[in-house]
């Protein structure tokens, strides 16, 4: 990931590429939080999550058979408003409750707080004519910062990732590792400006990292799916989506201590704004979330069919989660436990 540039002007990334991931554990001292993690995508989108717990719970919040999960989300600017609270109580709580083993901590409280620590304003790429592009087009995002504007999907993705990792860092038992990815569907002219198109990529269209969507050059209105959109891309998008996956099932064999296969990504959270997304698509997306159930689709036909496009967006998000985020998470714990210099001795004995 370190070879990716962060600024779209210097060297644009491909349509499916994430910004460079940066994960730090134990950012806050132990006296302040049980576990804390900072998660950032590129230099412009980062969140810090802190977990306290399991701790004593107020009697009125106490649940006798499981832990009470309390989530709080704090935006970078301003106070917590409707957007932050709805993200915390709706999105974050739902995503975390589905992986944390709450029944192992009855009558206690697990507090998760996420703070957005970095959020870049949209930077207009070179060659973007604002006047021409905005004529007759309604953006799904307000142009000026608005106190009630909902959080961008990239911000939500980094917050969900940071919260999930902080829970793991705190040692709270979870059944899976959460990876959240944001996806935007943008008009082709936006994608051309901000990302590398097929003209420079290799022709093999089966690989996940290449995009095949440029095959019809004349179709300017065609829509491109971008993974991990930055703020400008989200502003110009026709629709933005957040997909959170619970990653589980990667086999570690005790015979040789190696990882085998890939984790299975189960879709646990879907949020969408803009575009025509009806509820049948959401349920069909959840139903087809088994790995391999989706066939590679001919991208050039996608622009016209919103449901295929939606499933393709999920497929790309999943491949980003499996291919980039999950290994980065594993490596971050590796660095934390074994030291970045690999000072851990693989032949050491464990003696009780």
């Amino acid at each position: 990931m370190s070879s990716q540039a962060s600024s779209s002007r210097a060297q644009p990334r491909t349509y499916n590429a994430l910004r460079p991931l940066n994960i730090s554990h134990g950012v806050l001292p132990l006296s302040h939080s049980t576990g804390s993690t900072s998660f950032s995508l590129g230099h412009s989108q980062s969140s810090l999550a802190s977990v306290q717990g399991p701790i004593e719970v107020r009697i009125r919040d106490e649940l006798t058979d499981q832990a009470t999960l309390q989530c709080t989300a704090i935006p970078l600017r301003g106070q917590q408003g409707v957007a932050a609270n709805s993200f915390a109580v709706g999105t974050l709580q739902k995503a975390l409750s589905s992986v944390v083993l709450l029944h192992r901590y009855p009558r206690s409280l697990i507090q998760v707080t996420v703070q957005t620590t970095d959020e870049a304003k949209a930077s207009t790429p070179l060659g973007w004519d604002r006047a021409q592009s905005s004529a007759g087009r309604k953006s799904i995002r307000p142009r000026r910062p608005h106190p009630d504007a909902s959080w961008t999907m990239a911000e939500r993705a980094t917050s969900v990732n940071a919260a999930g990792l902080a829970l793991i860092q705190a040692g709270i038992s979870c059944s899976a590792t959460i990876c959240a990815v944001s996806v935007a569907v943008v008009p082709r002219k936006v994608a051309r400006l901000t990302r590398k198109g097929k003209g420079r990529a290799t022709a093999a269209s089966g690989a996940m990292d290449e995009d095949g969507s440029d095959s019809e050059d004349g179709n300017e209105a065609a829509q491109i799916i971008l993974v991990d959109p930055d703020t400008f891309e989200e502003e110009q998008a026709a629709s933005v989506h957040l997909f959170a996956f619970a990653m589980a099932g990667q086999v570690v064999s005790c015979d040789d201590g190696q990882l085998k296969g890939e984790p299975e990504a189960r879709l646990i959270l879907v949020e969408s704004e803009g575009g025509k997304v009806d509820s049948r698509l959401v349920s069909s997306a959840a139903a087809t979330s088994k790995r391999g159930a989706l066939q590679p689709l001919i991208i050039s036909r996608i622009a016209s069919s919103p449901s295929l496009q939606y499933l393709e967006a999920i497929r790309r998000a999943r491949s980003a989660a499996v291919g980039k985020i999950h290994p980065a998470i594993r490596q971050s714990f590796d660095e934390q436990l074994l030291g970045s210099g690999k000072q851990g001795d693989a032949d050491g004995d464990v003696v009780m």
């Binding site: 040692g171 038992s173 990667q250 086999v251 998470i329 050491g348 464990v350």
Partner: protein
């Protein structure tokens, strides 16, 4: 070594991969691992010669640790088939009381029958019956004040996750105290070995370091004893209580434990911390010049006791 993440599936060694015997030992799981179903648990908790691979689910992040029935562990890949106990070693700092763990707590409340103590690193309080001391009778009871520091064991019949744990300051089989009970704190006027008023205090350490210090073969405390006399108690809830003659010694002890904790993170697996005096010596020597771990400890003691910042 592979770091496990929650959701990873651990595949235990199968009969085909173990060299000699054809039967697999019964497997018990420690923290961080769960059986996927009741049938799997029943099938695996008895010795079996099936060659079907057995799977468990990891619920915490960390390294995989294992021991065989004698309590000896092996981190290398051969010989893993014999391992009976498996767990995940991570860096959590939340302590949950488990039976027969030595712990250091502080009294927060008292009533006629028991004291209530806090373990600081545990979310729930722990109770200590008033009669659970050596030689305690109804007429002759210890008188612990609020805030007193107590060293004891978690009672061996502690119930499940939802119930409050109990501790004891007497070995329940022999009735002897064995050093348990109130530890001298600032409120008691303790006198040290040399007759001068002594200094005592609690040092907070990480849970993995505390667990590893509890092993009798850990070299760090004997190494410390070469420099100054002290009395210490280690609690599995992440505290080390020490009594020394001079306050600089206490500060030096704290500095050494913090350094050990910092370096201990390069290998949470127990042997790393035990062998870390040699290993950390090698690691540090690359930075601070030639020397062994002993020299390192000596340097820290000198630096603190001689009064450098």
């Amino acid at each position: 070594m592979v770091i496990l993440l929650p959701g990873d599936v651990v595949q235990f060694p199968t009969a085909s991969s173990s060299s000699a015997s054809s039967s697999l030992p019964a497997i018990r799981l420690g923290p961080g691992l769960l059986w996927p179903s009741e049938e799997a648990k029943a099938a695996a908790s008895s010795s079996s010669s099936a060659s079907q691979p057995r799977f468990v689910l990891a619920t915490q992040a960390g390294l995989l640790g294992s021991v065989d029935e004698k309590g000896k562990g092996k981190a290398s890949s051969e010989g893993n088939a014999k391992q009976q106990g498996w767990w995940i070693e991570g860096r959590t700092q939340r302590y949950s009381p488990s039976p027969r763990d030595p712990i250091i707590g502080q009294v927060t409340a008292r009533n006629a029958d028991f004291y209530t103590l806090t373990l600081h690193t545990s979310p729930h309080q722990i109770t200590l019956p008033v009669l659970a001391f050596e030689g305690a009778t109804k007429r002759h009871r210890p008188n612990l004040k609020i805030g007193a520091t107590v060293y004891g064991l978690v009672a061996s019949d502690v119930a499940g996750a939802g119930m409050e744990a109990e501790m004891t300051c007497v070995d329940q089989s022999t009735g002897k105290g064995e050093g348990m009970g109130e530890l001298d704190g600032p409120s008691t006027a303790a006198v040290g070995a040399t007759g001068t008023p002594s200094v005592s205090g609690l040092i907070s350490v990480s849970l993995p370091l505390a667990r590893s210090l509890l092993r009798p073969s850990h070299p760090l405390l004997p190494l410390l004893a070469q420099h100054f006399p002290f009395e210490s108690a280690v609690g599995a809830n992440g505290f080390v209580w020490m009594r020394v003659d001079r306050k600089e010694h206490l500060v030096a002890a704290k500095a050494i434990l913090e350094e050990a904790d910092r370096l201990g993170s390069t290998g949470v697996v127990g042997e790393e911390e035990e062998g870390k005096v040699g290993k950390e010596g090698k690691a540090l020597s690359a930075r601070w010049g030639a020397g062994l771990g002993e020299k390192q400890v000596r340097d820290i003691v000198r630096r603190v006791v001689k009064g450098d910042a």
